[in-house]
Amino acid sequence: MAATTSTVLDRAPEPRARGFWRRLRAGEEIAYLIALSAATLVLLIVGLLVYQLWISSTLSIHAFGFSFLTGSTWDPNAGQFGALPFIYGTCVTSALALLIAVPLGVGASIFLAELAPPNASNVMTFLIELLAAVPSVIYGLLGIFVLVPLIHTYLAPFLTATFGFLPLFQGTFYGVSFLSAGIILSIMVAPFIISVSREVLYAVPTDQREAALALGATKWEATWDIVIPNARTGIMGSIFLALARALGETMAVTMVIGNTPAISASLYSPGYSIAAVIANEFTEATGNLYLSSLIFLGLVLFGLTIVINAVARILILVTQQKGAA
């Protein structure tokens, strides 16, 4: 756009319309229009999506209003619909997933970008990116047949023994649970963090590393103090991507979370997530209120994603200003 203005300024003043056609022929205006319409289209699609969700859920919105968000009973037979257990399940599993995947993913990307020899790094990254292409139903199966037994025999006893005083790790581990869903999710989202963060770290100019090394920094100090802050925005971006994936992940979660609309402090308990309940119950939703409530859940998930992203962004902004980056 700046280029457009300068073109206008460069030339002698001419009638507006003629200037437009000349620029159109020059291609600038066309590129501008194409970019503009692409951007508008995206907004339009999002707008339509929200509109459609809203329209289809009006019945439920009118029936429950805000109490839909705070209600914890989900009883289709009684016509009672409360979203809290699903919101809780979605938030808990996503938080757990990030808690595991962020340190793992960022750590791995630092290793791949800064420490590993380039060839090894490329091979490993290729394999890790393959993980992102595995269908989520496969992850669900992996969860049921491999992960859950492993958690059952090794991880859960360890957690109970070590952190048993926390409500998080009390009770009996049955297999399907928040914990299993969170761990599966973390495995699914880590590749995003790794491959995007690695690229971001690669993009940090060499002269930043050299500036730190030239002051007598060790390799690790240069990476930690200088390279990572340089890459911070991009790494955060990769985490958002992972979060979005975790919030919306349906298949794998539904296979290991237990599909029980309950709120429990213990990660060992079965639960439910928004995406999972929509997928499971959509086909059997009898009655308009039921259907409308499920769509309302979709709207809530959409809102939740936006709110969480906004909060995260504000957090970053605040910490950035504190650090005055």
Binding site: P118, E210, L213, A214, A217, P229, N230, G323
Partner: protein
């Protein structure tokens, strides 16, 4: 400031590596012997032997691609971070082989300012303080040292009210002086500067030259420059590189007024190429 005790070796006043060494050379701070440097199979430096005098300004000139940056970057072992490079021969700092020293120690003693200014994405203050922090300076002394370094880099008066603003808000020339302040803060014994003024206007350039004159009292300065006048103005000794070879090394005046080699004469009189 780490001023070296007069550490005189018998050979210290002798010309280096068969090349015309400056006659005035007293105590060499840095010396190289038979230095060959390779990027993979490409040899970028051939048999460099040189004595760089302590607390003097030594300039290196030469056409683009002749190996000036490469030479500078071997002296603080920065080239070791580039994959596929190797060198043989010796580089001695106060008579000690830098290859046998701890690499972070070498780089702390031999500071470097890069051609393109590269401030960290931190505040002005933190940019200068960083080197102090990683080298374990006492907290109480940091603010003072930061101020002193910024004063020495002739930047203090311009930015003293903006210390906690991001360094990216400074002008190009200010950023380069910030990088110099950052390098000075850890009080290196040697300061390597790779075309530090190439992106600067004449006023900013002059400021940096004045600054180099001042810090020369305590610091050995090695500067690469494309600006012949700058070398003539600043340097006590000047070396001329061509195709990875140190063609001639002598007192600056001798290099510019009375070069011994044809290639040097062609280059300094602008008849090169």
């Amino acid at each position: 400031m780490a001023i070296q005790p007069p550490h005189v070796e018998d050979t210290s006043a002798m010309p280096a590596g068969g090349i015309n060494a400056p006659q005035t050379s007293v105590i060499p701070k840095l010396r190289t012997r038979d230095l060959n440097f390779y990027y993979g199979s490409f040899q970028a430096l051939h048999n460099i032997g040189i004595d760089i005098a302590s607390r003097k300004i030594t300039a290196f000139i030469g056409p683009s691609g002749c190996g000036k940056s490469t030479f500078l970057r071997t002296m603080n072992r920065m080239n070791e971070t580039v994959r596929g490079t190797r060198y043989d021969g010796q580089i001695l700092l106060d008579g000690e082989d830098i290859r046998k020293m701890d690499v972070t120690g070498v780089r702390r003693r031999v500071g470097m300012v890069f051609q393109k200014s590269n401030p960290f994405p931190k505040t002005i203050f933190e940019n200068v303080a960083y080197g102090l922090r990683i080298n374990g300076a006492k907290k109480a002394t940091i603010a003072e040292t930061v101020q002193r370094s910024l004063e020495r880099a002739a930047l203090w008066t311009e930015i003293k009210d903006k210390l906690h603003k991001p360094a990216s808000a400074l002008s190009g020339g200010q950023q380069q002086r910030l990088c110099i302040a950052r390098a000075l803060a850890v009080e290196p014994e040697v300061l390597l500067l790779d075309e530090p003024c190439s992106a600067l206007d004449p006023v900013a350039t002059l400021k940096i030259e004045e600054l180099l004159f001042q810090i020369k009292e305590t610091t050995t300065i090695v500067i690469v420059t494309h600006n012949m006048q700058q070398a003539a103005r600043l340097a006590d000794h000047t070396g001329f590189f061509l195709m990875g070879k140190l063609i001639e090394f002598n007192d600056t005046r001798a290099i510019f007024q009375n070069p011994k080699k044809k290639e040097t004469e062609d280059y300094v009189t602008g008849r090169f190429g």
